[in-house]
Symmetry: D3
Subunit: 135 residues, 6 copies
Amino acid sequence: MALVPLIDYDDATPEVRAIYDDIRATRRVDWINNFWKALANDPATLERVWGSVKSVMAPGAIDALTKEMLYVAFSVTNNCEYCIHSHTAAAGAKGMTRQMFGELMAVVALANETNRLANGYRIDVDERFRDPVPR
Amino acid sequence: MALVPLIDYDDATPEVRAIYDDIRATRRVDWINNFWKALANDPATLERVWGSVKSVMAPGAIDALTKEMLYVAFSVTNNCEYCIHSHTAAAGAKGMTRQMFGELMAVVALANETNRLANGYRIDVDERFRDPVPR
Amino acid sequence: MALVPLIDYDDATPEVRAIYDDIRATRRVDWINNFWKALANDPATLERVWGSVKSVMAPGAIDALTKEMLYVAFSVTNNCEYCIHSHTAAAGAKGMTRQMFGELMAVVALANETNRLANGYRIDVDERFRDPVPR
Amino acid sequence: MALVPLIDYDDATPEVRAIYDDIRATRRVDWINNFWKALANDPATLERVWGSVKSVMAPGAIDALTKEMLYVAFSVTNNCEYCIHSHTAAAGAKGMTRQMFGELMAVVALANETNRLANGYRIDVDERFRDPVPR
Amino acid sequence: MALVPLIDYDDATPEVRAIYDDIRATRRVDWINNFWKALANDPATLERVWGSVKSVMAPGAIDALTKEMLYVAFSVTNNCEYCIHSHTAAAGAKGMTRQMFGELMAVVALANETNRLANGYRIDVDERFRDPVPR
Amino acid sequence: MALVPLIDYDDATPEVRAIYDDIRATRRVDWINNFWKALANDPATLERVWGSVKSVMAPGAIDALTKEMLYVAFSVTNNCEYCIHSHTAAAGAKGMTRQMFGELMAVVALANETNRLANGYRIDVDERFRDPVPR
């Protein structure tokens, strides 16, 4: 059970309702999921986090589906049950297929494996990898 | 400094050389990076992990660039310096631009933020998110 | 369900009872929570961990409420459901308000975000930050 | 070495300079630390993250020193070297003493210990802890 | 509830059945646990991961019981409920006693404590520890 | 560089020297490693943590070498460079061979992989695994 009450649209202040309206309009859905209803207990955080999500998750140099799959991937590593469910659903709505989900899990798991091998052996960065971000 | 010696091609056993050859042929590069040279101290692990990487990272339902960016993302969360450098270089070689790198960091960071909000508030999964993987 | 039976006061050995008595006296409560009842299966661990908690969590240069909120913060990042509940309750008993809980969650989440940005960009420590602990 | 160039004030765009000015004014310092100089490569992220930090870290129901020590605590658990240095320096500037730093480390370490005991034994939440956030 | 259907032996393809048969023969059990039934939705991952587990977990320079206890230990730190249960059962079947389980939890918890102390104080590696892997 | 000065034997208080003496006697070594020299800045933590390490790491139902290898394993997952070096050296002194180190890394890495698969697919615990700790 959530540690705070979930605030429904009808019980929300005008300030919170305006954010709920923006969430629904931006996402083209007719409901508000529990994450935002919980954050609404702290309207400043609701406004700030929604602003970040809206801005960061919008399509840019990386498309929206890839961003959503990245979110699923982190939710698995951080073992956030809520996030796994909500972002898998969102990724599905944006075009992730069942097969893509399977491959995503495989990459997530393998990266967690090889990260430990590199850390455990304390492998030095190759000279050629020193300045890896493209210009 | 790596905890084990890095095994160069010329010092490798025929078994290890065959894997090095496959790495170079598969990736179309003319060198072997330190990660594999360290794993070569344990040839069974070298063979098994390379087999996994070759299979999982090949393009499939998810394209190779997206998979590589996922690897960068995990390397950041697990704070694996070697992995951040090597996979950022690999993603760059596959087409990631500087702007995409910036957006990738933004998504990684934000996901780590919102994961904690969902975990901290112990938010219940919405009924609509219960069965999120597409059929 | 806990992996080991929870040992109630009436079923405990005199050695365990003495620790239970100390927990109740130190905390001024009339019951024992499940964490200690589980550890009581391994009396040496019960004694050692209670000794550490009693010593570390006592007010010192940092007051007891701040220490308790730090505990909540870690429990969120490590996603320990039991710990989130028990330490949030303890922090509340020591004076944490609902608004403080909201701000605490916001700091926890934001720190997890900016930690990844610093790690991902591999930012060098500024010279002025080299020796940061006050004398 | 940082993965991106650090952008000094003199080389920054007017948009970035305005944020740098706000950072210096808000913090009453006459310099910009490397974190912001790295984020300046992606001005949208610089603006968004600075906005979050400015808002979340301002004194509120929790005082600014406590918030800064929370930041140190997370940086230790996430093993972010840059963050440990920068936030320890910031906490020192806000009044954290050497003794408080020592106690902070002790709480961080102990919380990471007991979190694992609770997770490992899969201890059920006590009924009395079910609804722990104060009204 | 698992995010994908669990595939029973009778509903499995011949390819998946062959892996199920190998799991049962290798482990000398007459059933298949849910982990493999979930992975069977992605037969390539099932085959690859089972191959890795079979190879890595076989007795070698480290005996099978110690390897299984290592698995329990990680499952606690990563807070993977399924893994804690399944690997604790497996370790028990290989000879772990109740007392060993208690000591295992104590080591896991303590290691998570002292790791944070070393990371938090940013302690330099002693010269004598520079090259620690035995020849 | 460590965030606090390392306190050598000759500069230590009698209280700290007594603990240093106990560390050397218990471990049959003639020197003190940096970890303890850093903790000595906070004598209460030095005493408490050394007491815990001495008690938990002593041979019991689990032998001392296995306990030390568990420590190495966690240090890799938590990416604690100091701890990887110091505990690998300690495990080597207790009998870990180079081949055992290689197998240890393989188990650590694989456990981090399969933990994510179980968490990602949200696999339900099998009924047979419900009560896994041996009586």
